[in-house]
């Protein structure tokens, strides 16, 4: 009896010991278009657990410290791709990044809006240019031939060709980490090329040639200088630079 009492009394204490609170600082690049002429840093002190997500930390700031903090988020499970931001100098999804991976006890997490797109407020950017280049690659299935009675069959190998590019969630982590996209607004960007890859290597799609012609332009794949920033930034682990090279080769062999 005494032993069970002993156990129940220590269990919560043990749990608390296993999950100590980290005292961290969150440094966020704030910009209010109605008040500020330039973006400025603001720092918030937060207690967080090592297993908390950075999104939880930002929510803590918004709910309990500064209600005016603006950022996008929706599903909070790394699927909708809304909360891409520059966390400790790298583009990541706030909902897929754990506090323990970016800060130690007493450390600082820096959060900035993703680069290369106009900042509307705080961490919220204008995504229109990003989606314009997405639309430019005709991101829809095109097949004019009459549909068969059952289904358009694809082998497992054929599905494998487009498996990685179909993982894209359009979070813009890759495109806004690309140095060419930062300085040159006419480049379609890695995300649009990954989306094009998904349709170019879809055996059921019939607009391959049209998409390869879009890719063959000065604004398409030839602007890629293989900086590999996109591959490092992708929260879905898509080997983006490799996929862009595959599209380059497809363009080359189509023209040959």
């Amino acid at each position: 009896m005494t032993q069970t009492q002993h156990e129940t009394s220590t269990a919560p204490a043990a749990a608390q010991q296993a999950l100590p609170m980290l005292h961290i600082k969150v440094k966020i690049l704030r910009f209010d278009p109605e008040k500020d002429r330039k973006a400025h840093w603001e720092t918030y002190a937060i207690d967080a657990q090592a297993g908390d997500r950075v999104l939880d930390v930002i929510n803590e700031v918004k709910w309990y410290q500064d209600h005016s903090l603006t950022f996008r988020r929706s599903c909070m499970h790394g699927i909708c791709g809304s909360d891409a931001m520059l966390i400790n100098g790298r583009n990541r999804l706030a909902c897929k990044t754990l506090v323990r991976d970016v800060a130690k006890d007493g450390g600082t997490i820096t959060i900035e809006p993703i680069r290369g797109l106009k900042v509307e407020k705080d961490l919220l950017v204008d995504m229109e240019p990003f989606f314009d280049s997405y639309k430019a690659i005709m991101p829809y299935f095109i097949n004019e031939s009459p549909a068969p009675a059952a289904e358009r069959i694809q082998s497992e190998e054929e599905a494998e060709r487009m498996a990685q590019s179909s993982n894209c969630i359009l979070c813009a982590c890759c495109t806004t980490s690309c140095p060419i996209f930062w300085v040159n607004g006419s480049y379609l960007g890695p995300a649009a090329i990954v989306q094009a890859h998904r349709f170019i290597f879809d055996t059921r799609d019939e607009a391959t040639e049209q998409r390869l012609n879009i890719m063959n332009q000065n604004t398409g794949v030839w602007r890629c200088r293989t900086a590999y920033n996109c591959t490092e930034a992708c929260p879905r682990d898509i080997p983006i630079t490799q996929l862009i090279e595959e599209v380059k080769r497809a363009v080359m062999y189509q023209q040959a």
Binding site: I180, N216, T219, W222, Q255
Partner: protein, 125 residues
């Protein structure tokens, strides 16, 4: 069919393989240049001692048209490879069209002059 109102629209709609061809050229010329330049370094710094590197020795070697062609190939490929790489950077980083025009104009003029002087120097020996 091309439907465009301005020259620039027509240019973007018309499809050209220029960028593709330059991309292939960069890969091939880069590979060739590695061997040409390594051979050149070997011949000028390792094969020949300092006392051999005289005016008459160089003129004597370049009397052979094969060596002239070898040197001219390094000159031409290196200039094309280098200036195309610089064109990439200029197009990436110089954002307004007037600025791009004069930066490219000055740059291509310098490259053209180097090529002309190099060629004249090589074939007038």
């Amino acid at each position: 069919m091309i439907r465009a109102r301005t020259f620039m629209d027509a240019k973007t709609q018309s499809h050209s393989n220029a960028e593709l061809n330059w991309w292939i050229f960069m890969r091939i010329s880069g590979l060739i240049l590695v061997f040409l330049v390594l051979g050149h370094i070997y011949m000028t710094f390792i094969q020949v001692s300092e006392s051999d590197a005289t005016f008459t020795a160089v003129v004597g070697k370049l009397a052979n048209p094969a060596w002239k062609f070898y040197d001219w190939l390094i000159l031409a490929l290196a200039l094309m490879h280098g200036s195309n790489g610089a064109r990439y950077s200029i197009e990436d980083y110089v954002r307004t069209r007037p600025n791009r025009a004069w930066v490219k104009g000055v740059f291509y003029t310098v490259v053209g002059l180097i090529f002309a002087f190099g060629t004249i120097g090589l074939f007038s020996i």
